[in-house]
Symmetry: C2
Subunit: 151 residues, 2 copies
Amino acid sequence: MRRTILVLAAAAALPLAMACAGSKGNVTGEILGLERRALDGWLTGDPEPQLAIVDPEITYIHSAAATTRINGIVPLQKLYNGFRGTPLFDTYDIMDPHVRTSGTTAVLTYRLTRRRAAATDHWNATQVYEKQTSGWRVIHSHWSEVKERQP
Amino acid sequence: MRRTILVLAAAAALPLAMACAGSKGNVTGEILGLERRALDGWLTGDPEPQLAIVDPEITYIHSAAATTRINGIVPLQKLYNGFRGTPLFDTYDIMDPHVRTSGTTAVLTYRLTRRRAAATDHWNATQVYEKQTSGWRVIHSHWSEVKERQP
């Protein structure tokens, strides 16, 4: 069974996969919608859209903003509160997104391009989502800065 | 249900989780054993133990070794071939490992400490494993260098 899905991939999941993650055809669209809503929040320095979809036991790695892995939503809220009210960028793009589903899990990877005034930077993003009864929740994040500027 | 597991956690999985991932009690030990075997390979510049547990459709992000996300085992083999025969470190430690299971998936995070001669560096590691019929396979990796040296 092909497990890497594209936006237009057909929903052809096996019964067990269906039980775990639901129809695969729309997962990429759902996940990217949630991710954009979270990033849109940061356009105005609002961490709430991100926090609304963070699992209480999230593990969070950020190569610049945190010196060690953050374990759980409470210390993550504390980190985010330091940026609350500060727009992190004027515009952004989700570049080359890729979603792979595995049972109850969807692994989203992409490159985030951020622009603020004349500055542009790029970040590698891993967001591991889990399908819970209340919806998709981020159980792990890993952010790392791209050293070389990409075209 | 508590989803974060520790090495000595009791195996108390629900039927669906059992169907997806098997008994949870031993997952952390299994995953760490595979991870150590892969790292042990790099002690002698041998990528084969790592490649043996890489899924064909792996997505691979490395903030220093690759400028863009690597998609699939073939380009990853090409990257690894550049280091084949070169020991990447003399000793290493897996620091503060954490495994979270979700259905068929186990998300391993840790800090890798590498020592070579007088030099020591530190890396944030995310390894997303998927339980397949042939065993655990790495479906996503994300490596980023830790900028500040940790005690």
